[in-house]
């Protein structure tokens, strides 16, 4: 596998937009050419090498055979791996907003934290976050009726508000707590929450949400009984009945 290593030359305060840091774009380029790909610092367009040091393996290969290693703090670098369909991106630090936006395949690993809109409108592939993720994981763009449609996002820490808003498919697992309104307006897909959640599944039409910690459940959910799941006893709810939803919500304890 060809490894391309990208390291920031400074600490960014103005966010960098770098959707071209993506296996589909860089796999066939020589390192010299990668240095020349275009990124934005605010309203200034510049070559990648003005802001980052590029090293790693030379040569030209396919996206499948490409690993992009991002070393350092990428918390202000946005749109990493946007639309990637294959290959691997490893962020050995924090990732900025919209990491894995619209990705359809391949793997992204974020060793630190992920900022808002991780895996927005994702169609396929796998995103793993070792730290925490912020708001709108696996959601849609504003106004769209579908967010994530496929693929998988695994977060080992916690996640922020509006997790999986408008989710239509795929799977999201968060080991820790999530913020307000996980799974709002979802129409399919599966959400596993290891910790607590506040008002999950608002306007859920279909799909599954499992909350292993405490959940504050909306009054428009109907308790259907208890079920055993993964060795735990969970309350099973049907909802969101405000919209005749047929979603399944499981929670261990209810506030």
């Amino acid at each position: 596998m060809r490894e391309i290593v990208i390291t920031p030359l400074k600490t960014f305060s103005i966010p960098i937009e770098a959707e071209k840091i993506c296996p589909n774009i860089v796999s066939s380029l020589a390192l010299k050419e990668i240095e020349g790909i275009e990124v934005w610092e605010g309203n200034r367009k510049m070559p990648l090498s003005d802001l980052f040091r590029i090293s790693g393996d030379e040569g030209s290969t396919s996206p499948e055979d490409t690993l992009i290693s991002l070393k350092g703090d990428f918390s202000r670098v946005k749109r990493l791996g946007e639309k990637m369909s294959a290959g691997e991106v490893v962020v050995k630090g924090n990732a900025g907003m919209h990491a894995g936006n619209s990705m359809t395949g391949g793997e992204m690993t974020i060793k630190g934290d992920a900022a808002d809109w991780l895996g927005r409108e994702m169609r396929g592939g796998l995103i793993t976050v070792k730290g925490n993720a912020a708001n709108y994981v696996g959601s849609g763009y504003r106004g769209e009726s579908c967010g994530m449609r496929g693929g998988e996002i695994a977060i080992e820490g916690s996640a922020g508000d509006y997790l999986a808003e408008h989710m239509c498919g795929g799977k999201i697992a968060v080991e820790g707590d999530v913020g307000d309104f996980p799974g709002a307006s979802n129409r399919g897909g599966t959400i596993h929450i290891g910790g607590n959640a506040y008002l999950p599944g608002a306007e859920m039409a279909s799909g599954t949400i499992i909350v292993k910690g405490r959940a504050r459940v909306l009054p428009s959910y109907q308790l259907e009984g208890t079920v055993g799941l993964e060795g735990m006893t969970l309350k099973k709810f049907l909802g969101d009945l405000v919209d005749n939803g047929k979603g399944n919500l499981y929670a261990t304890s209810v506030e």
């Binding site: 849609g140 763009y141 504003r142 106004g143 769209e144």
Partner: protein, 561 residues
């Protein structure tokens, strides 16, 4: 300027594919230009600039569409350039994209299809921001309290005086009527079910409203006829209401050399069936009626597959759409005047209703013998965005193209419409009529839609040799050429060259100043004082659109002689 040697289609002047020169001076077509640039159009198709008589391009509804649809805004993005401002949107583009995209299609004039008087200031604010093209706006009258009362009382003199005032107040061009009576009923959540269903609290029927407005329109000798969105639009079986409406006004004569009534986006009013299950086309019945009656015209309202944003003063229809499709719903009721709604949706090829609707629009155009009676529109952005006009043109010009499309659609299309059986293919001249000559004639724009001496020098040159290309077979090339004009000359100025915008003149805004006898104007004035004192939420003195909002006006005079 001289446009040399093009193959010219100018149907108004009986020119169909003649090689000739067009001379231009001071923004007008002249006998012979003394000086100026020469554009070599040898072997290229030359037509008057396109005229769109019905599109929703400006005002509260359009902006509501933008605000509720950021997901549409992010489509069609084009960055700013040295000359151009950024473009956004597909179904609801920003103002600049509107002007640029029309110009690139070879269009030079577009009329906004519906403005309520009280919100016309907003409409004009947006029209002012649309670059290049000439514009106008049709003013809504079909649910206005003063209109309902005049129609109830049969007081056509007063109604004409009110229209005159309303056109001035809105800086409007003509009388638009949407679901007459239904918009008022929607004020309390109701609707009207047909021509003789009285409007609650007003004791007047849609039939009386339409007839009264048409009589007043003709009394005022307005350049355009009444422009009607029928009752029951969008509902299965509504073709009966449409035909009943036409029959109800057969006795009314036009005061001008034009139609007496224009029915807009007919596709939405040509439905058979008792419900959505047995929904079918009644385009043949509608076209047959139009073939036998010369005093009426219509436009297609062609449906385009994909995303659309429906927006109309027919608010009850929009509520029904939103509930049926579980879609976003915006509604806006306007005190004493109208109601309206906006609902985004997507038309699917495999959705039986959408596929049949698509077929109906084309059937109407192909079954109506005279292209002077049916304009090409998509009721932008209700049937789909206007950028798809080249697609519609090629569908009309090529039977193979239609067959190819039908093969991708729901299998009910051939069963519920006659489209698959129609062999007619429109020629260059007929397309020029439906997109240039006829809309100008129907709107009453004497200097538009043709290239005779004295006409506005709005000329489009397409990268097509009509002598050599067979649109039936080469429809892809035709669509490509119609999508990006080789040249668009607007008012004698080159605005598009090789598909690129090269200059940004400010277009004009047409409005109609119609005079009426003072005694009737005074009666209207008394009514208005009463209504503003008791009912309107704003002062009468702040109501009328000020001159500051129409900076480049083209005032057309009309009125009672």
């Amino acid at each position: 300027m001289i446009i040399k040697g093009g193959t010219v289609y100018d149907p108004t002047n009986g020119i169909f594919g003649e090689e000739m020169d067009i001379s231009i001076e001071n923004g007008k077509v002249v006998e012979k230009a003394k000086t100026g640039d020469v554009i070599d159009a040898k072997g290229l198709l030359v037509m008057p600039g396109g005229v769109d008589a019905h599109a929703h391009i400006a005002g509260a509804k359009v902006n509501t569409g933008r605000i509720m649809r950021p997901e549409d805004g992010r489509r069609g993005l084009e960055p700013k350039t040295k000359l151009l401002r950024p473009s956004t949107g597909y179904t609801v583009p920003n103002c600049y994209a509107m002007g640029y995209r029309y110009a690139r299609l070879g269009y030079t004039t577009t009329f906004e299809a519906a403005t309520p008087i009280i919100e016309s200031r907003h409409t004009h604010e947006e029209l002012e921001e649309i670059p290049i093209i000439d514009k106008g706006a049709l003013t809504l009258f079909g649910n206005n309290w003063e209109v309902l009362e005049c129609a109830r009382d049969g007081d056509i003199d007063k109604l004409a005086a009110y229209i005159s005032w309303g056109l001035r107040a809105s800086r409007g061009y003509g009388v638009k009527v949407v679901n007459p009576g239904g918009g008022e009923a929607w004020g309390f959540g109701g609707n009207v079910t047909g021509l003789d269903d009285p409007v609650p609290d007003f004791d007047v029927t849609p039939r009386e409203i339409i007839r009264s407005l048409m009589k007043a329109n003709e009394m005022l000798r307005l350049p355009h006829s009444v422009h009607l969105h029928t009752n029951n639009l969008g509902k299965p079986g509504n073709y009966a209401t449409t035909l009943e409406t036409l029959k109800a006004v057969e006795d009314i004569a036009s005061s001008m050399d034009r139609q007496v009534l224009h029915i807009t986006h007919m596709q939405f009013s040509a439905y058979g069936g008792t419900g959505w299950r047995d929904f079918e086309s009644k385009a043949p019945e509608i076209a047959d009626y139009f073939n036998k009656h010369d005093q009426f015209t219509m436009d297609m309202g062609q449906l385009i597959f994909g995303s659309a944003t429906t927006m109309t003063a027919d608010a009850p229809l929009e509520y029904a759409n939103a509930r049926l499709l579980h879609a976003k719903w915006s509604n806006h009721d306007i005190e004493l005047e109208e109601s309206s709604g906006v609902v985004p949706l997507s038309y699917g090829r495999k959705m039986p209703i959408n596929a049949i609707q698509w077929a109906i629009g084309l059937e109407l155009a192909l079954l109506t013998e005279s292209p002077w009676k049916i304009l090409m529109t998509t009721d932008h952005p209700n049937g789909g965005p206007f950028v798809n006009y080249p697609e519609v043109m090629t569908l009309l010009m090529s039977k193979p193209k239609r067959d190819e499309e039908i093969a991708t659609l729901h299998s009910l299309v051939p069963k519920r419409s006659t489209l698959a059986t129609l062999d007619r293919e429109l020629d260059w001249g007929e397309i020029a009529i439906m997109t240039r000559a006829a809309p100008a004639k129907i709107l009453g724009l004497k200097d538009k839609g043709h290239l005779g001496i004295g006409a506005d020098a709005d000329v489009t040159i397409y990268n097509l040799n009509p002598e050599k290309i067979d649109p039936s077979k080469d429809y892809k090339k035709v669509k490509e050429a119609f999508s990006l004009a080789k040249y668009n000359v607007k008012g004698g100025e080159v605005v598009v060259k090789d598909g690129e915008i090269v200059s940004l003149p400010q277009g004009r805004t047409y409005w109609v100043d119609a005079t009426v006898p003072e005694e009737h104007a005074l009666r209207v004035e008394a009514d208005l004082v009463d209504k503003f004192t008791k009912y309107y939420s704003i002062q009468k003195s702040n109501y009328m659109v000020q001159d500051a909002y129409v900076t480049n006006p083209m005032v057309v005079k009309a009125g009672v002689i």
